[in-house]
C-alpha cells in the first residue's frame, strides 16, 4: 500500500506477518495420526475377536497335530482285527465284481453328456426367448395378444440347426434342424437316458457301498475319541479357517448370538481345556456336552441360558453384559444353573442342574416359601382358601334359590293370567334341580377340600400341641437362638429382644391346646436304639452332633430331643405322627372339641375316614400337618424308641424357670410379635391358621430393577465394593438379613424381620442362583418347558417324591443314592440285602392298579398293619403316608412315565397252562438246583422267618409278566446286588432254558422255559403253594 511507509522489520503487523507454519505442521500431523488411530480402531480395536480366532487356530492346530499320532496307533490296532479285515475284504470283493459294469455305464454316460452339451446352448437360448415371449403375452392387452402369439409361433418354428455327436461311440456327428418342440423333446430324452443309467450304476455298486459303510461304522464304534480321519478333517477345517464373526441366528426367537466369535472351541468334538490352549479360558469346550445335545445352540442360542449380550463383539466385558446398564449380565459359572429357571419353572428335579435342584429343595425344606410366595410351592393353602370361598358362595346361592321358590310361588298366586302363573310355577319347579346341581358341585369341592387338607403341610411343628409336647422352660431358651441348641435346625435365628422373646413364648404357651396325652409305661431304650436304626428312621432323621452326626438331613436332628420333649407325647407321635389332638375346621376356623361332637350326639372320633365337621358337615383337618409318615409301629415299639430318644440329651443342660409364660398380659403382646415375625408361616398356631405370607414374592425376583432393591445406607458402599447388583443384594441379605438396617433409625416393629437362615456358602450360593434365575422371561413361550403327557407326569411326580423324601430310602433314578445306602450299618453285605428296594424301573415292574393300593396302604392288610406288605422280611418299614387320592394318582403316573409305560395299563393275557405244562413248571419251581420257595415268603410264619424275597401270591396282581420274565433271566441287571441269583436260565437257540438238570419231561418241550415259569407264577394258588411247601 503506497501511502503507508514501510515499517521496520521488527515492528511488522502480526496479523499479516506472523507465520503459522509450525502450528499447521503439528496439527496436520496430529490429524493424520488420529486418522490412523481411527483406522486401527476400526479394524482391530473394535474387533478383538479377530485376534482371538487367530490365536485359537494356531493353538488348536498345534494341539491336533500332537494328538494325531496317538490316535493313529489306536486306529491301526482296530484295523488289524478280524472283524474289520472281514468287512474290508468283502468290500473290496464287491467293488471288484461291480467294476466292469460300472465302467460300461460310465462310458455311455460320457457319450450322452457329449451330445447333451452340444445341444444345451441352442436349447437354452431358444427356451429363454420362448419364455420371455410367453411372459409378454400373459401381460399383454387382449388387442395386442394375437400379434404376439404369432410372433411366438414364429420363434418356435425355428429352425434351430445343431451339430450333434452320435450315441454309438463312432465319433461321427449329424447335422439336424429342429423346431423348438423337437429340441425340447431331444433334450428331455437325453436327460431321461442319463438318469436311468445312473440309477443302474447305484444298484450295481450298492453291495460295495454297504460294506464300505459297515466297515467304517465298525471302526467308529470301537474307537474311543476321534478317528484319524476325523482328526484329519478337524485339521483341514482349521487350516481353512475363515476369520469372521461366527453367529448363531434363530429368527423365530430373535436370537442373534456371536459368542462363538471368541469362544471358537465351544462346540469342538474334542474336550478342550484351558491348560492345553495356552491357559485361555475362552477357548475351552462346553463343560456339559450332554446338556448341549438337549439344548442345541442352533435352536436355543447361548444367551437365553447364560445371559450377556450376544450381539456385542467389541469387548469381553460388553459381550458378557457386565457393563453398566445391561440388564442381563452373564451368570457367573457358579450361578450357571440360574439360566435353567426361566424355562424350567415347574421342575423341582432337573437333570444337569444339581445346584438348582439343591436350592429348590432347600427353598421348601427350609420353609422359605412360608414367607416368600413362589409359584408352584405350597399351593394347597391358597387352593383351599379358594375352594372354601367357592363353597361359601355356593351355599349362599343355595339359600337364595330356596327363597326364590317361595317368592315365585307367591307371585304365581297373584299372577294376572293363568299363563303367567303357569310359567312362574314351572320356574319354581326348576329350582330344586338347580339346587341339586349345586349340591353336586359342593360335594366335589368338599372332596377337593379333603384332598387339599391332607396335602397341606407345614414345615415347622404344630404349636397347638406345645403344652402336651414341650418342657415349658425350654421354649424361651430355644427362641433366643435355635442354632445354639441344635446347629442344624431348619428354624432360622430371629433377632428377638428379651421382651419379645418372653411375649412370644407366653403367647405360644397360652394358646396351646389344654388337653392331656395318655400316660405311657417306660420302654426298653436298648431295643429302641436298635429299632431306630433298622426301621429306617435315619432316612430322614439324624442323631449325633458335629462330626458324629449320622442320618438324613430331611428332618430334625434328634440329638437333644430328650431335653425338650415330653415322653408320653413322643410315644404317641412315634406311634402315629399324624394323630391330632383336636380336629380343625377350616370353615369355622376353629378347633372342634369333644363338646362339639357331644352337642350333635356324635362320638368323639376323627380320622381320615371320619373327617366331617359335626357342626356344619365340612371337611376337617384331622391330621397333623407334618410330612412324617406313620411307620405302623406297635405301642411297644413306639415306647422303646421314645425311651431311647429321651436319653438323647446334654446332661448338664439347665433351663431357668419361666413363670412369665403364664402372664396373660404378655400373651396379648405376644400375638402381635408372632404375627409380625410370621411364625404362622411354618407353624400351626391357634387363631393364626390363615395368616398370610409376610415376605415379598420371589417368583420374579431376578427381574427386579436394581433400584427397587432397598440397599438403604449401603448403596454407596455396595457400589464401591462392586456388589450393587441383585445377586449382591441377595447374597448379603442371606448372609446377614438385617444388614440393610445398618445405621437406620427404626422402631422395633419397623426393622427388617427376616431371620437368619444360617446357610453355609454353598447353600447361599445355590439359593442365590435360584433367585437370580427367577426372572420374568422375555423369551417366547414355546421355548419354555411345559411338557404334556408322560414328561409332565414326571415333572409333577418329582414334587411328591421330594415332598415325602422317598429318596431317603429308595433309589428312584440312576446314580442317585439313598440316605440309607450310605449309613455304616448298610455297608455290611448281610445288611445290604436289607436295603429298601430300588425303584429304578418300578413302572415297568408293577401293575399300576396294584401300586395305587399299595401306596394307600403299604401293609396290604387292613387289620394286621405292623408289617411290610410286600417284603415282610425287611426290617426297614415302608410307612403309610396318607397320600391324598390326587397324590397317589400322580405318583403312579410318575413311576409309569419314568419307565415309559403305556397308560392306562391293560394287563397282558397269559395263556392258561395245560396240565402237562403245569407239571413241568412245578418241576422248575421246586427244582433242587433253584428251589424258589427257599427264599420267597409264603405267608407261613415259621417258613417266613428265613425268607428274603416277596410272596409269589402277590405276583399276579402286582407284577407285569414281561418284566417278571426279564427279571428271572437276569435280576442283577435290574437290581445290582440283589440276592436273587442270576444265570438260572441260559439262552439257547433264541429261547431260555433252565441251567440246572432238567427232568425227562422237558425233552420234547421247545418253548421258552422262563415264559412257562412266569405263567405258572401268575396262576399259582394259595393251596398249590401250601402243598409245595409241605412237600419240601
Amino acid at each position: 500500500m503506497p501511502e503507508t511507509p514501510t515499517p521496520p522489520p521488527e515492528e511488522q503487523d502480526p496479523v499479516t506477518s506472523n507465520s503459522y507454519s509450525a502450528i499447521y505442521l503439528i496439527s496436520s500431523i496430529l490429524l493424520i495420526l488420529t486418522l490412523f488411530w481411527a483406522l486401527y480402531d476400526e479394524v482391530y480395536g473394535l474387533r478383538p475377536w479377530k485376534s482371538y480366532q487367530r490365536k485359537f487356530v494356531s493353538l488348536y492346530l498345534s494341539n491336533l497335530k500332537k494328538l494325531k499320532p496317538r490316535e493313529k496307533g489306536a486306529e491301526e490296532e482296530i484295523r488289524k482285527t478280524e472283524g474289520y479285515q472281514e468287512l474290508d475284504r468283502a468290500y473290496k470283493a464287491a467293488e471288484l465284481e461291480a467294476t466292469p459294469k460300472v465302467k460300461d455305464i460310465d462310458r455311455q454316460v460320457g457319450l450322452i453328456d457329449d451330445r447333451a452339451t452340444a445341444l444345451t446352448d441352442t436349447f437354452q437360448t431358444a427356451r429363454s426367448e420362448v419364455s420371455a415371449k410367453i411372459y409378454e403375452i400373459e401381460h399383454a392387452s387382449t388387442r395386442s395378444r394375437p400379434s404376439l402369439e404369432k410372433e411366438l409361433e414364429e420363434i418356435k418354428r425355428g429352425p434351430f440347426k445343431v451339430e450333434l455327436p452320435l450315441l454309438d461311440g463312432s465319433e461321427k456327428k449329424e447335422r439336424v434342424s429342429y423346431t423348438f418342440e423337437e429340441l425340447e423333446k431331444e433334450f428331455d430324452r437325453l436327460k431321461g437316458l442319463k438318469a436311468d443309467l445312473l440309477a443302474t450304476r447305484l444298484e450295481v455298486l450298492k453291495q460295495a457301498n454297504d460294506f464300505h459303510k459297515k466297515r467304517d461304522q465298525y471302526l467308529e464304534e470301537r474307537m474311543i475319541g476321534l478317528t484319524e480321519q476325523q482328526v484329519g478333517s478337524l485339521i483341514s477345517k482349521m487350516e481353512a479357517f475363515n476369520v469372521e464373526i461366527k453367529q448363531i441366528n434363530v429368527p423365530e426367537y430373535g436370537i442373534v448370538d456371536r459368542c462363538e466369535s471368541c469362544h471358537v472351541g465351544i462346540r469342538e468334538p474334542l474336550v478342550l481345556e484351558a491348560r492345553e490352549l495356552g491357559g485361555m479360558r475362552a477357548f475351552t469346550s462346553h463343560p456339559d456336552r450332554e446338556l448341549l445335545k438337549i439344548h442345541n445352540p442352533d435352536r436355543f442360542g447361548c444367551t437365553p441360558c447364560h445371559n450377556g449380550n450376544g450381539r456385542a463383539t467389541i469387548s469381553a466385558e460388553k459381550a458378557h453384559g457386565q457393563n453398566e446398564h445391561w440388564l442381563w449380565p452373564m451368570y457367573a459359572s457358579k450361578n450357571a444353573d440360574a439360566g435353567c429357571v426361566q424355562c424350567h419353572l415347574n421342575d423341582i428335579v432337573l437333570d444337569h442342574a444339581d445346584t438348582l435342584n439343591y436350592a429348590r429343595q432347600m427353598y421348601w425344606e427350609r420353609g422359605c416359601m412360608g414367607c416368600h410366595r413362589y409359584e408352584g410351592y405350597d399351593k394347597e393353602p391358597e387352593q383351599l382358601l379358594a375352594v372354601n370361598q367357592t363353597l361359601r358362595s355356593l351355599e349362599g346361592q343355595k339359600k337364595e334359590n330356596q327363597k326364590e321358590i317361595a317368592a315365585l310361588e307367591k307371585d304365581s298366586e297373584n299372577a294376572a293370567t293363568n299363563e303367567e302363573a303357569r310359567q312362574l310355577l314351572a320356574k319354581a319347579q326348576e329350582i330344586p334341580m338347580k339346587i341339586s346341581l349345586l349340591d353336586a358341585q359342593m360335594e366335589q369341592l368338599d372332596m377337593q377340600s379333603k384332598s387339599l387338607l391332607r396335602e397341606q403341610k407345614k414345615i415347622g411343628p404344630n404349636l397347638k400341641d406345645v403344652r402336651l409336647k414341650l418342657k415349658k422352660e425350654w421354649i424361651p431358651v430355644w427362641l433366643e437362638q435355635p442354632t445354639a441348641f441344635r446347629p442344624t435346625t431348619k428354624m432360622p435365628n430371629f433377632r428377638l429382644s428379651q421382651e419379645q422373646r418372653q411375649a412370644i413364648a407366653a403367647f405360644i404357651w397360652q394358646s396351646g391346646t389344654e388337653a392331656s396325652v395318655s400316660k405311657q409305661p417306660p420302654g426298653d431304650a436298648q431295643n429302641g436304639k436298635e429299632l431306630f436304626e433298622i426301621r429306617g428312621c435315619q432316612a430322614c432323621h439324624s442323631l449325633g452332633e458335629g462330626n458324629e452326626r449320622m442320618g438324613g438331613t430331611f428332618a430334625a436332628n434328634l440329638s437333644r430331643v430328650g431335653e425338650k420333649a415330653n415322653y408320653d407325647y413322643l410315644v404317641r407321635w412315634i406311634h402315629n405322627p399324624r394323630e391330632r389332638t383336636l380336629p380343625y375346621c377350616p370353615f369355622e376356623k376353629k378347633e372342634i372339641t369333644a363338646a362339639d361332637y357331644a352337642k350333635h350326639g356324635l362320638p368323639f372320633v376323627f380320622d381320615p375316614d371320619h373327617a366331617k365337621c359335626p357342626n356344619d358337615g365340612h371337611e376337617l383337618q384331622v391330621q397333623q400337618t407334618t410330612v412324617m409318615p406313620n411307620l405302623r409301629l406297635s405301642w411297644k415299639e413306639a415306647q422303646d424308641i421314645a425311651s431311647y430318644l429321651v436319653t438323647e440329651r446334654h446332661t448338664n443342660a439347665s433351663y431357668p424357670p419361666a413363670a412369665f409364660m403364664d402372664d396373660p398380659g404378655l400373651k396379648a403382646k405376644g400375638v402381635q410379635y408372632v404375627k409380625f415375625y410370621g411364625c404362622a408361616s411354618c407353624h400351626e398356631i391357634a387363631g393364626l391358621e390363615e395368616e398370610g405370607r409376610i415376605g415379598t414374592e420371589l417368583t420374579k425376583e431376578g427381574s427386579k430393577p436394581i433400584d427397587n432393591f432397598d440397599f438403604a445406607l449401603l448403596a454407596r458402599k455396595a457400589k464401591n465394593e462392586g456388589w450393587y447388583t441383585g445377586k449382591g443384594f441377595i447374597e448379603h441379605k442371606l448372609q446377614q438379613p438385617e444388614i440393610y438396617d445398618t445405621g437406620m433409625v427404626k422402631s422395633p416393629l419397623e426393622k427388617l424381620r427376616m431371620p437368619n437362615p444360617h446357610l453355609d456358602d454353598q447353600q447361599r450360593s445355590a439359593i442365590t442362583t435360584f433367585l437370580i434365575g427367577s426372572v420374568d422371561s422375555s423369551w417366547p413361550n414355546d421355548l419354555f418347558y411345559n411338557p404334556s403327557g408322560q414328561a409332565r407326569d414326571i415333572q409333577e411326580g418329582w414334587w411328591i417324591v421330594r415332598k415325602y423324601n422317598c429318596m431317603g430310602c429308595h433309589q428312584v433314578r440312576l446314580s442317585q443314592r439313598s440316605v440309607l445306602m450310605d449309613l455304616p450299618r448298610y455297608q455290611n453285605p448281610d445288611w445290604r440285602e436289607q436295603l429298601p428296594p430300588r425303584l429304578v424301573g418300578e413302572g415297568a415292574r408293577v401293575n399300576p392298579r396294584w401300586l395305587e393300593q399299595f401306596l394307600a396302604n403299604p401293609a396290604l392288610n387292613t387289620t394286621e398293619t405292623d408289617r411290610n406288605g410286600v417284603r415282610p422280611y425287611l426290617k426297614a418299614r415302608m410307612p403309610t403316608f396318607f397320600f391324598s387320592p390326587d397324590e397317589i394318582r400322580k405318583l403312579v403316573r410318575f413311576f409309569m412315565a419314568l419307565s415309559t409305560q403305556a397308560e392306562p395299563y391293560i394287563p397282558q393275557r397269559l395263556e392258561a397252562l395245560s396240565s402237562q405244562e403245569t407239571q413241568m413248571a412245578r418241576e422248575l419251581f421246586t427244582s433242587k438246583a433253584a428251589p424258589c420257595l427257599k427264599c420267597h415268603a409264603t405267608g407261613e410264619t415259621t417258613h417266613d422267618k428265613t425268607a428274603t424275597a416277596p410272596n409269589f401270591l402277590l405276583a399276579k396282581d402286582r407284577l407285569k409278566p414281561n418284566w417278571t420274565g426279564r427279571w428271572i433271566a437276569d435280576p442283577a441287571v435290574i437290581s445290582p446286588g440283589t440276592s436273587m441269583p442270576s444265570n438260572l436260565f441260559k439262552l439257547q437257540g433264541g429261547r431260555y432254558v433252565f441251567s440246572g438238570p432238567l427232568p425227562d419231561l422237558f425233552k420234547s418241550y421247545d418253548k421258552d422255559q422262563i415264559a412257562l415259569l412266569v405263567r405258572y407264577m401268575f396262576e399259582l394258588s394259595p393251596e398249590e403253594q401250601r402243598r409245595l411247601l409241605s412237600r419240601r
Binding site: T4, S27, D707
Partner: protein, 311 residues
C-alpha cells in the same frame, strides 16, 4: 466429601461438555472482555490524540499507526479459521474414538429412572421446571429466551459498537447477555448437572446422591400464606402481586435505563416499541432469579395461580 461420586458425575461421557464449559466459558469471557477493553482504550487514545483522530485507522489491537488500514480476509482470516477447523477435527476424532455414546438400558415404561435428566443443553430448562409450571417453563419462557436473544440487536442499535469487540458501546447487550446466559442459563445447567440428584433434590457437590434421602421441602403457594382458598381469590391476589411486581420492576428498569449520560443518550434514540420490548424482556428475565430466591428462601412455589397457568 464423596470424591468418587463427584468424579463419576464429572467423567460421565454425557457431562464432558459441561465440564469443558466450566473452564472454556470463563476463559473466553475473560478473553473477549480483555480484547473489548483494550479496543476501548485504543479508541480513547486515538480520539484523544488530535493527529491520529483524523486519520483512518483500524479500531482494534494490535495497532501501530503505520500498519495497513485493512487486511484481507484471504489469507489472513481464513488461514486462522482453517487452522481452527483442523484442531477441532482432531479433538472431535479423539473424542469419538475414546468416548462411546452413553447409552443406557432399554426404556421401560414400568420403571422411571431417577434422576431422569434431560440432555445437558436442556438441563437449564429442566431446572426451570422447579420454579415454574410446565407450561411456563417448557413453552413460554424458552420461546421468550429465543425471541429475546434474537431481539437484542434490534433494541440496541448503537452504530458505534459495530464491527469490533467493545464494552463501552455495547453495555446493554453485554450486560443482558452476561446476566441472562452466563448467570442464569449456565448456572442452571450447572445446577441441573452437579447439584440435582435423585428425586431432583438439592445435593451440594460431594454430597452422596442417596435415593432414600428425606428432606423437609414442603412447598406452598403465596395465597396459602394468606389462607386464601377460593380459586377466584387466588387468581386475584396473584394478579395484584404480579401487577405490583411489574410496576416496581418497570420502575427499576427505567431507573437503570436513565441512570447516566450514556444511558440517557441510548434511551433517547429508542422508539416506544423498542423501549417497551426491552422493559418486557428484562422484567421477565428478572422473574427467574426472583422466583429462585423466594422458592429457596420461603418455600413458595407459585405466586399467581390460575386454572390455565401458574407463575
Amino acid at each position: 466429601m464423596d470424591w468418587q461420586q463427584l468424579w463419576e458425575i464429572a467423567s460421565t461421557p454425557d457431562n464432558i461438555p459441561i465440564v469443558a464449559l466450566l473452564f472454556l466459558v470463563p476463559f473466553y469471557t475473560w478473553y473477549a472482555f480483555r480484547q473489548a477493553r483494550a479496543n476501548d482504550q485504543l479508541i480513547g487514545a486515538l480520539e484523544g490524540s488530535p493527529e491520529l483522530a483524523k486519520t483512518h485507522h483500524r479500531k482494534t489491537l494490535p495497532f501501530k499507526p503505520e500498519w495497513p488500514r485493512e487486511v484481507h480476509v484471504w489469507p489472513y482470516l481464513l488461514r486462522i479459521e482453517f487452522l481452527a477447523a483442523i484442531i477441532v477435527t482432531v479433538i472431535l476424532m479423539i473424542w469419538s474414538i475414546t468416548l462411546n455414546a452413553p447409552l443406557e438400558e432399554p426404556a421401560n415404561p414400568n420403571f422411571t429412572m431417577n434422576p431422569a435428566k434431560a440432555p445437558w443443553y436442556f438441563l437449564g430448562l429442566q431446572e426451570m421446571l422447579v420454579y415454574f409450571d410446565p407450561w411456563m417453563a417448557g413453552v413460554v419462557l424458552p420461546s421468550l429466551i429465543l425471541v429475546g436473544l434474537a431481539a437484542i440487536p434490534y433494541m440496541d442499535e448503537n452504530p458505534l459498537g459495530a464491527g469490533y469487540y467493545t464494552l463501552k458501546q455495547r453495555k446493554w447487550s453485554i450486560a443482558a447477555f452476561c446476566f441472562g446466559f452466563l448467570v442464569l442459563w449456565l448456572t442452571m445447567i450447572f445446577i441441573g448437572t452437579f447439584i440435582r440428584g435423585p428425586g431432583w433434590m438439592w445435593f451440594w457437590p460431594g454430597q452422596t446422591w442417596d435415593h432414600s434421602r428425606v428432606v423437609f421441602e414442603v412447598n406452598r403457594d403465596l395465597p396459602d400464606l394468606f389462607f386464601i382458598t377460593s380459586a377466584w381469590g387466588k387468581g386475584i391476589l396473584g394478579a395484584i402481586v404480579m401487577a405490583v411486581y411489574y410496576g416496581l420492576a418497570g420502575l427499576l428498569v427505567h431507573k437503570i435505563i436513565t441512570l447516566n449520560e450514556f444511558n440517557r443518550k441510548i434511551f433517547k434514540r429508542m422508539s416506544l416499541l423498542q423501549y417497551l420490548t426491552l422493559q418486557f424482556f428484562l422484567i421477565m428475565m428478572m422473574l427467574l432469579p426472583l422466583k429462585i430466591f423466594i422458592r429457596h428462601a420461603f418455600r413458595i412455589k407459585y405466586i399467581w395461580i390460575t386454572p390455565w397457568f401458574n407463575i
